[in-house]
Symmetry: D2
Subunit: 345 residues, 4 copies
């Protein structure tokens, strides 16, 4: 059995990790860390685990003392909080899967410019592997420090990579208009995330300045083999879960929707979790699963292509992909514990 620790287990991504690992046939959780709920039974924070998980949440100090008992450490902490514990874990031979942003960007400078905090782990960056499993599987197999992708980047990079790898769109024409459920805002008390402030409304936020922008650009630039910038606009939708990423690009040559569907199906043919569908994706068809649904439509009038991808932001966009990466890092079947079909309605 793989022994795991979860840092930040009482946030939503942490809770989803607990959910997946509880039923994972090859892994078990050694400790559930929580800053705000240290000393509280985990199932009092999340009553869905009542009678299933009997552990008490532990503080950072206790978590650190247990690092030598585990094989893998999942970190679901706010950005800037992963550096120290990552270093300690790696030193003990513990593999680290960070669900935050601290090791996603290859450049310390870019990180500091967008996140506004010092990067205290620059020396770790060169060995950190960006964990978009479908696109980086080989490197993931051998890594010790995995940077689990952001939710918007996961949906967006999966949607656009085949186009860029095949030089089908103008790299500077990309506009990504994305929509997320409210769980993306996390589980901290704030007025702007109240039911009454989110329900019956939609808004954009972080226009031209959201922190997932450089992450998407970094990975798309690799796919395109040239540097590119994108317009990225996230929106908040009154639902708990789900991301829909609507991606626009200008086609460099005439191509049909059917040709692109075939190209995408071929590109992702060995990837269980990416499904190229015939129509348009809806987040409800992936909610509760680790799947990414992708739909494509060529607009001959404007010579643009619209690629839409849907994921569950807490699963393929966070905890599910983290477990998928754990499976790869430990040589397990990639889909172990993750073969859930979306729960509808």
């Amino acid at each position: 059995m793989i022994k795991a620790g979860i840092m930040g287990a009482t946030g939503y991504a942490g809770e989803q990790l607990a959910w997946f690992l509880y039923n994972h046939p090859m892994a078990e959780v050694e400790f559930y860390n929580s800053h705000n709920y240290a000393g509280v039974p985990y199932n009092e924070v999340y009553n869905n685990f009542y009678s299933f998980i009997e552990d008490i949440c532990v503080d950072m100090e206790t978590a650190i003392s247990k690092l030598s008992n585990i094989d893998v450490l999942f970190i679901a902490l706010p950005h800037g909080k992963a550096f120290e514990i990552t270093e300690k874990a790696l030193a003990l031979g513990v593999k680290v899967i960070d669900l935050g942003a601290d090791f996603r960007l290859n450049s310390k400078e870019v990180y500091e410019a967008w996140y506004g905090v010092n990067h205290e782990g620059e020396h770790l960056l060169e060995n950190a592997v960006y964990g978009l499993t479908e696109l980086n599987r080989e490197a993931i197999k051998h890594c010790s420090l995995l940077a689990n992708p952001g939710c918007y980047p996961t949906a967006t990079i999966l949607a656009l990579t085949p186009l860029l790898k095949n030089k089908l769109i103008d790299v500077n024409s990309i506009i990504v208009d994305a929509k997320s459920g409210v769980s993306g805002a996390g589980r901290s008390a704030s007025i702007r995330s109240l039911f009454t402030e989110c329900n019956e409304s939609i808004k954009a936020y972080g226009v031209a300045g959201h922190r997932h922008t450089p992450e998407i650009e970094q990975e798309l630039s690799k796919a395109a083999d040239e540097n590119l910038v994108i317009s990225f606009t996230p929106h908040l939708v009154p639902m708990n879960r789900g991301i829909l990423s609507t991606c626009y690009g200008s086609l460099k040559k005439a191509v049909t929707t059917e040709e692109l569907l075939e190209l995408y199906r071929d590109f992702y043919k060995d990837n269980f979790f990416v499904k190229i569908i015939n129509g348009l994706p809806e987040t409800r068809w992936v909610r509760g699963s680790n799947l990414c649904h992708i739909g494509i439509k060529v607009d001959t009038r404007t010579k643009r292509v619209v690629v839409l991808s849907a994921i569950d932001n807490l699963i393929k966009g966070a905890a599910g992909q983290a477990v998928q990466n754990m499976n790869v890092m430990f040589g397990l079947e990639e889909t172990t514990g993750l073969k859930l079909i979306a729960m509808a309605p």
Copy 2:
């Protein structure tokens, strides 16, 4: 492998049956019947099954022709539609699990009075077993025709049976004020179930006349060992899933909340799916699971007890309990394929 057929597979209960059976290690689906979608790929109706289920929905005639290939027939049709196919299936030695109301009431007369249609299977009633698994397990083990309970009855009967069995409340004092998500209204086109008609509102319906009333009364009368009538008021809540049943009864003697919690825990101690919690249940903590959470509060001022139970109406209130019953009927471990923890948030 148990071979199963699903009648009415494109309704919500049918879809949940497909969902559970797809992952069930000891069962597989032989056909998916649908009146409205015969000839249509099942995964076009429910895109969550894209690339998982490739079957085409079949009509009633085709379903009948396949009865001899299956071991169990799940029926998720509107009331009044189960009689003929049940008879045919039983004649072929196929076990039948009816998720509708046609075999729940022991009395043809009561059925006809509340449902307004003729009962065309009176001769089948004496062998039909009411499938509230926790309360009727022995009979279920040996039955061929199982009447799967309604959603409100499941939540309510589980909540009140320990009180009645122990003669703790006045049998004629019971008031059940229940609340359900909109999936309880089914998947048929109707204006009153439109998003815009349900969202941002709550209403009662069927006050003093809902069809689940005689079903609840029948089973609670058995528990009380005397005939009783209840006030039952269902409400429609703007959410997809979940039932909360708030049950009131007048205590015949002084008893504390703690004593009742202990009594309930003892009563349900060998039942995996019923959890007596310490606080108050919320439907989100059981959504996506086959669990029933029960909370209890004695009001010393009014000498009443309030028992609250929460289930997922499509799972413990429909498809999950149906699979639970299948497991019992076929001698499998009762929890097979059903050990899901609620998906939160």
Copy 3:
């Protein structure tokens, strides 16, 4: 013009006061007080007022300094916070309408037992008038200190008073099962009011202990002319606005639904805002209005009556009724500025 001040203008009840008073033909707001947003433009807190209200929120000290400029002070502060400013305002001849609980209960002891804070204004209680306008209009006309009713009490007392005044139900048989939208929880940062914690779920809270219980009992006891206790269970529903109160009582004699409808219509015949409807109320039909819809159903099987009432908790349950009371206190037409029809869908 009536000059008004609003204490606690950035809470939801305060915002609704601002909304009504902005368009009120005979009143205008002199200051908007806010503890957390003092110094901030009011329309930055509530963007719906952008370009309409240009005032800056003022702190308590400033508000006090402006008391001599106003005719009426609306107080929408947490309980326990109204005593001092009420005293100051009354001393200056300013009429006070308190939307909180501080002057609703006639007994200092009952207040302290249920609210857990000292009552620092006992001497004011004897002149405080309970402002359920329809039932107390004469007293309201002449009062200087008005205790605006709670949201649940408004819906419930309007629903049950005709039955009690006419001695039609057993006074100790009353069960009130009420459901509220999330705005009832107010606008303060708390995890339990997050979108993701409220959406797709229903729960009861404060079972057998909610603070509106003694308020309802006090007023219903007056109607019944004898002391009574009730079972009161509030529930939280995933919607912004609305209260539905489902009230049960045991009939002392046989009476038909039609007879009760007639009795209620007669009882409320001179009250614009109370509508006795033919079917069952839904909160959406009163949302955005100061109306109370009441529906009635006699259950001959159980000899109980079910009375259901629906209001907008922020309007008839708070700010709308406060303005209605202001109109009465200042001799205006009672419906001035309040003749809104519910906004649907």
Copy 4:
């Protein structure tokens, strides 16, 4: 008093017309037409009007017979249904305000290509005036046949016109990613609009083929003074009301956000209903009002501008603008009966 008739009064746009006209000081409704509810009291369809509107819905024939009694006919029928009654009304000197699509497009051919039905009123097109009030006020004053804009076009054209009039963006760079509440789908029984099918999900629809595309292009081409095509992608959001239109364009020269804010404020300075806000619009701040909130952000990295506009799709996007146009057509103050501030929360 202006006497009005409403065709299609039981759809959502029709209901909103009834809502506005009920309180309009200078207009009154002579008849409420409904195909499905002819003979039914209007307030049984919409209980919010209980005790306010006592009219019975009338069928088409009756409506036609009453044309000579009215001054203005509002038509809120499905596309293709307005031709005959419009002709009849105009012949009687009745002004017509059509909320549907039948007279919005200047070209019969474009209409038939996008709507798939014959245009039976081509001779009326030359006198039809496109009723985006802010941009076409002079023509509206003198017209008899007004084509009320679509919901998406209203939000989008208001957002982009100042940029195009000032030649600030590349006309062929425009991408409009819009999001609408479910009321945009109308009030007809369909599975895809059920609560359970829309809630907790977001999807795009009509990608590269939505019928509002040519309407937007027609009006933006006029603003730009050259023909242009756009990419337009509408999305369905789980809320009742609201449209957010996120519009992207490539800047032809460097310009700051502040400069654009000033330019927009100047452009709309005499228009009560258009508000250029400082931050980003949210649909909740305009819900229930006839306002359009516009926010602007220049992205210097990509040299694009993002303009976001929010409206209530049923008000500024339908009935509110129709009443605004009626006011202009009849020489009333444009804001008569429309000075509502958004209802929040």
